[in-house]
Amino acid sequence: MTQIRLTTPLTDEDVEKLRIGQQVLVNGVIYTGRDAAHKRMVDLIKAGKVNELPFDPKGQIIYYVGPSPTKPGRVVGSCGPTTSYRMDPYAPELYKLGLKASIGKGKRSPEVIEAMKKYKGVYLAAIGGAAALIAKCIKSAKVIAYPDLGAEAVHEFVVEDFPMVVVNDTLGGDLYQEGIKIYAVK
């Protein structure tokens, strides 16, 4: 199967080309965040303090993950995706500010799918539970905000050929619905 290489930061054109079911390899800088970090970021946005965000979401990718602790001598602990629906209440605000992609596992809400259509963003699924393997794609890692949140702090990762699949594209397509239709036995 053909794999598409993406390098951050991403443009509208980069993500508009993507279609559900395609495999992509992500390269470059990505940011992490889970529920607690999202709540803080969206609170800042709502308070009009966009310049205080840990990073400018424009053209960027956010990865929903809470890594396990780093063993000495390693770049990062195991770090597979967490279930994305918990970030659904916050995601549209970030897409609105130019976020181009989020990475997680599991279904997104209609509101998030709509926001991706409107603001030209995609949702990519990393392989849930393949955390030891994914850690190998991460070449450097540092905490850039909210260290008090522990595993939930915002990290900046530099990744190389991090594999994932396009689940929602800018046309509103949803692989979780379409995939089942293809393989269901009627």
Binding site: Q23, S78, K105, G106, A125, G129, A132, L175, A184, V185
Partner: protein, 265 residues
């Protein structure tokens, strides 16, 4: 024990992945299963957790009635073991002390401990770290006796459908039928401990397991919910006597990171 459970994936799960690679009809699905095999190999060789969610430490104790424990509190000792295992092993601490206040306890304690008194003079400890993603998609329903086996089947299939990609499929389903509400949930979790590929002792339940497995995989959800026929590696059913008025059914979902480790003392 905590570390081993998190680093080493059971052979039965590996076998099931390999079988899935052969039978899976979706190419993406096949590739995912291969990646999961590779992931388990990396975890084993490099002694790192196969999944970043190192789970809630669920402990099953089978305490022989002739055993006398000296030198302290057994539950304290287990808690201390979990604390040490998760801290020294660089495992993720995923427990908050209060469900509403939500402050992390910092050492993955307390564990959830289920104790059974059995004949004999052994103490068997089974540790089954349980991931949140798959636990969250589990469900229990107090059905009517009139719903019968058809009702049970529909409910189990519904739970699988509803879970979709969220519990990191391929999954294992533990189904507890009967008892009271908490008993159904407990036997559903116990059912997850059974080896994949083993056959239910009750021939009727073995048939039901096979039928459910086929029907659920035919939904087309596939590995990671991206489409395919390997959503579920096994359905394990456990039953218990029920009240004349009740038919409780619990479905506990375990992800492919189906970790458990057993010792007998």
């Amino acid at each position: 024990m905590c570390q081993e459970a998190n680093f080493l994936l059971g052979e039965d799960v590996m076998e099931a992945f390999k079988k899935g690679c052969e039978t899976e009809v979706s190419n993406t699905g096949k590739e995912i299963l291969q990646i999961l095999i590779k992931n388990a190999e990396i975890a084993r060789e490099e002694q790192v957790p196969m999944c970043q969610d190192c789970g809630y430490a669920v402990v099953f104790l089978e305490l022989g009635q002739d055993v006398h424990i000296e030198g302290g509190d057994l539950y304290e000792a287990i808690t201390e073991g979990v604390r040490k295992g998760y801290t020294d092993g660089y495992l993720r601490k995923s427990i908050v002390g209060h469900p509403l206040e939500r402050k992390n306890t910092g050492d993955n304690t307390p564990p959830v401990i289920h104790t059974k008194i059995v004949p004999g003079e052994n103490l068997k400890i089974t540790l089954a770290p349980k991931g949140g993603g798959s636990e969250n998609m589990s469900q229990i329903k107090m059905m009517k006796p009139a719903d019968g086996v058809e009702g049970v089947k529909n409910f189990v299939i519904e739970v699988a459908k509803n879970a979709g990609p969220n519990p990191c499929p391929p999954v294992i389903l533990g189904v507890g039928i009967g008892g009271t509400m908490e008993k159904a949930a407990l036997i559903a979790k116990e059912a997850l401990l059974r080896e994949i590929g083993s056959v239910n002792e009750d021939p009727e339940m073995a048939k039901l397991e096979a039928e459910l497995l086929e029907k659920i995989n035919n939904l087309g959800i596939g590995p990671q919910g991206l489409g395919g026929r390997t959503f579920c590696l096994a359905v394990h059913i456990k039953t218990y006597a029920a009240h004349i008025a009740s038919l409780p059914v619990a479905v506990n979902i375990n992800c492919h990171a189906a970790r458990h480790k057993e010792v007998v003392l």
